[in-house]
Symmetry: C2
Subunit: 589 residues, 2 copies
């Protein structure tokens, strides 16, 4: 027995008169003029089925037992809908099926929430019944878009002679940055594999093996304390190339993005993506991933206030801090109440306070103008290019923090003043990153990208002398304010890799224990190489205009890494533990 001759999305008026068979889910039903109408749904669409009591009482009575989400197979004739009943919003809206046979393939309990798009259900309920949640059109389409994205990405790389190669999931634990998920070994009790945080070392070794161009769409794992919208397992597009410099990797990445945009959005992105130094991004936009769909940039005003009478500013200058501001149009949109909101916003992001100045009738107004000299007022106007009915928000404090707060404020104002052109897309490379970053938790310098990132050639001599001045051959790709990819040219010489490990406070012994196999491999003819990795989930989310990574992952976990559908993680048997040579630590409280 065949279940169907057509799917629920393909019948049109030209099928009129054909006897067809469809299978799917009962989306809903209604009685109208003595007839029973069923909307039958499958992945491909919805088709209207009509049960007419005149076709036979048994059939009609059987149809009357149908309920939402029952799975049925229906045979019947394709008829044109009566005039006035045509539904132009449905691809099958011109026809309906007059049922002749009905087979109930499976019954269904009443779902805990209705299968429709605009529905307000608690996230946990949706995750528990993820199979019902995935029946909603928006979710289904997200997953199908993701499916299409795999295809586009892989086609691109195959067309460009990249070899697709799988790297191991059971690998050596080399925690660096995030925590590894561990996998106990049964054969070697007391020893563990780790799941990859990324295939970084393996893809470098593939270059040393001579594969020249590698890519893989691959699951990676990080056992981090989950912040909002992170997943313990995530997918990345992993790329590595030999005999390349930064531009080669960036070119390939741009071409990939352009292909994706063309195929998914039908948009041609023609121009080259602009490049901006990390320093410029920080000082102009307060972010290493600025959203350039609107112009607003930060103005540094420290010099203006060198001799200021305003104590809050002069004390910051004494502490070698900075004073900087954002100037936006529309002072009239900022009532006292709204300004209080902005003040709360910056305070929540760590600012001591907020200074605001409204530009009205060719001068500045605001609670602190009484402390400002005319020169200061004029210079603020000049530097910020302020005009009448502009408002200038000023924050003062430590440099890094101040830029970062203004960066957040910039996004807030962009949203509030509706500055964002959401039809536009902004791509941007951030380059010239400092190699090091201070890890306040560990109280030491760590690699900003990872310890295999090459320093800029001319900075190599600074490695031991002025490590904080060393720039990395790293690059991040930013799309509409989101980092969608990051990569670097790697170190390909064992001696330089050793020096960098040293700089990062990794002892020779530790380097040997953790990365010995890479150091050895570098000794046997490693070509210059570099690469990049795209966050596949984030890319899919942005392309789908979804709000959460969870929306584009078939079976996502909660922010505390629970899988509510299958109930994992879960206890295991004593036998399983004992086979692994493990015991649970007894509770100590």
């Amino acid at each position: 027995m065949k279940y169907r001759t057509h799917n629920c999305g393909e019948l049109r008026s030209e099928h009129k008169g054909q006897v067809v068979q469809l299978s799917g889910w009962v989306k809903n039903w209604r009685n109208h003029g003595g007839l029973l109408f069923i909307d039958l749904r499958d992945r491909y669409g919805i088709t209207q089925i009509v049960f007419n009591p005149q076709q036979g009482k048994t059939l009609y009575e059987k149809a009357m037992t149908l309920r939402s989400e029952y799975v049925i197979s229906v045979q019947g004739k394709v008829n044109l809908r009566p005039e006035g009943m045509v539904n132009k919003d449905m691809s099958t809206g011109e026809i309906e099926i007059t049922a002749e046979k009905l087979n109930i393939l499976n019954v269904a309990q009443t779902p805990p929430f209705e299968i429709m798009d605009e529905i307000d259900v608690h996230e946990e309920l949706k995750l528990k019944y993820r199979y019902l949640d995935l029946r909603r059109t928006a979710n289904k389409n997200n997953i199908l878009l993701r499916s299409q994205l795999y295809k586009i990405v892989r086609d691109f790389f195959h067309q460009n002679d990249f070899a697709e190669i799988e790297t191991p999931f059971l690998m050596k634990s080399t925690p660096e940055g995030a925590r590894d998920f561990l996998v106990p070994s049964r054969n070697y009790k007391g020893k563990f594999y780790a799941l990859p945080q990324s295939p970084q070392i393996y893809k470098q070794i593939l270059m040393i093996a001579g594969f020249d161009r590698y890519f893989q769409i691959v699951k990676c794992f990080r056992d981090e304390d989950l912040r909002k919208d992170r997943q313990p397992e995530f997918t990345q597009i992993d790329i590595e190339m030999s005999f390349v410099d930064e531009s080669d990797v960036m070119d390939v990445s741009e071409n990939l993005v352009k292909k994706i945009y063309k195929e998914i959005k039908g948009k041609e992105l023609k121009s080259e993506f602009p490049r901006m130094s990390y320093q410029e991004a920080q000082s102009k936009y307060g972010s290493d991933k600025p959203d350039l769909r609107f112009d607003l940039s930060i103005t540094v005003l420290t010099d203006v206030f060198n001799e200021t009478q305003f104590n809050a500013f002069s004390s910051v200058i004494d502490d070698k801090g900075i004073i900087a501001g954002l100037c936006v149009e529309g002072a009239d949109r900022f009532s006292r109440k709204q300004i209080d909101k902005v003040t709360d916003f910056v305070k929540n992001h760590g600012a001591k306070g907020l200074v605001w100045l409204k530009h009205q009738e060719d001068t500045l107004e605001g609670p602190i103008v009484k402390f400002l000299s005319d020169r200061e007022k004029n210079e603020v106007i000049q530097k910020t290019k302020s005009k009448n009915n502009d408002i200038i928000f000023i924050v003062a404090g430590k440099e890094e923090e101040t830029f970062s707060i203004l960066g957040e404020l910039r996004l807030y104002l962009g949203e509030y003043l509706d500055l964002l052109d959401k039809t536009k897309d902004s791509f941007l490379w951030i380059i010239d990153f400092p190699m090091l970053e201070f890890d306040h938790e560990e109280n030491k310098f760590v690699a900003r990208h990872h310890p295999f990132t090459s320093p800029i050639t001319k900075d190599i001599d600074l490695l031991e002398k002025e490590p904080t001045k060393v720039k990395a051959r790293a690059y991040d790709l930013v799309m509409n304010g989101n980092e969608i990819a990051g990569g670097s040219i790697r170190i390909h010489q064992a001696s330089l890799q050793q020096r960098v490990f040293q700089m990062l406070g990794i002892s020779k012994q530790e380097a040997e224990d953790k990365f010995g196999f890479l150091l050895t491999a570098l000794e046997y003819g490693a070509p210059p190489h570099g690469g990049i990795a795209f966050g596949f989930d984030r890319l899919a989310m942005l392309l789908a205009n979804a709000n959460s990574l969870r929306d584009v992952i078939a079976f996502p976990k909660t922010t505390s890494a629970l899988s509510l559908m299958d109930g994992s993680p879960s206890p295991v048997s004593e036998k399983q533990l004992s086979e692994l040579g493990l015991r649970l630590e007894s509770n100590k409280n």
Copy 2:
């Protein structure tokens, strides 16, 4: 600075006179007539570079320092090779590069083994230096063939409207059959995720979610005691379809294989793959994956010997065993010594002994003919269709064992007598499997495929009464004696699934604990569905004519699940363990 204008495989005589730059590895070098010749290798090929002392002493002296596997970049002019020096076996054999500039990008230590194909190196050394092993042409080509195979497979499924969907790697531990690899949870100490043995339940849930056709090429994990040529992590092509029966899944699978054959081997496989019942495969070929590239089949002879005087046979018949044999041409190829070898072979496979009969001068000869009546001899000849110069090997014992021993003997004889036509490919579906299999270790019945496999509809009533007679809606695809895929139509009704769990001795509580989320999902509108999974590694191995799965895996593990390159599994820190709430069991010896 650019590293190359061309790769090492693309220059031809039409590039004559061009100044080019190449980068790659020094494969070897030789001095000849005062010139230094270097074979420069990259992924794409080999190009000959000539260093001529007349081009400058410094350049020549630098070139003289080059050693095997150094990574260099060379600029020079493309020249035609002198007549007589053209190498037609090399794609670049018409030209050579006269070097003008040399940049040594990296030095290399002397490799522990030479980078050439025909080399006898201990497997462990090759795995430790896998990046060097992968530089060998045969290995490189295997990995590139595998890369091509991904593309072909995925294109096929995308073209056929399958959605590519990723299923979780951190999932619920539901050990059934093989052992799970476990992953301790840090957030929920004492609880564990498991790595998937297959995405079985998730792909069924995707059908319940309505995705209709799903595929994925996915890593799976089994913590088994490794037999020869198994890997703890392996790759499968995972497929599931809704509203289908066996034929639909088998058709898709056949079309996939045909496409692979066409694209990789350039062969059109036109006919439908034959289907054979498990019962027939066992009794004719002594195997559930018979190699049909040669004809030889088993003849059951029990009836012939119902009244035999030969004790070894009559006692087997008394014990309800069987007598069966294989008849092959070429009795003259079986000397006493060779027959002793065959006898040892069947004994090693569990036979009590071997009876052989040579057909010579229209009668049978051999040590036991004196016990046989003329009728018995004639019937043996008739039933086995023996001719002069044939030899008949007979084994007697328990049915299952005897078939299995003769199945092994069949392969042995196929090899010894060179019966296999290796230019031919044999594909075969095995169907009508018994649903159950007796697990001698666990001393209970277990599902032959897995507990989600549907019984044949007409056998459902036998579930409780005669479970051993129940056949499964399962199918295996056999290629040249290798199982390359296996699948089934699944149970889509919760009540039937419960009954099957019961039949398998899985209590209601256990079913709920392990598979509750599937049972619940089946209650909310599960469509009829089924699928199949291909062993991707094995398929790649067979297509590459490789001898081991390790040959087609970039970074394989040993049979004891060690990764010799990175040294995993390895000890982890106390801190890592304590964060997971785990302790190592102290040694008890």
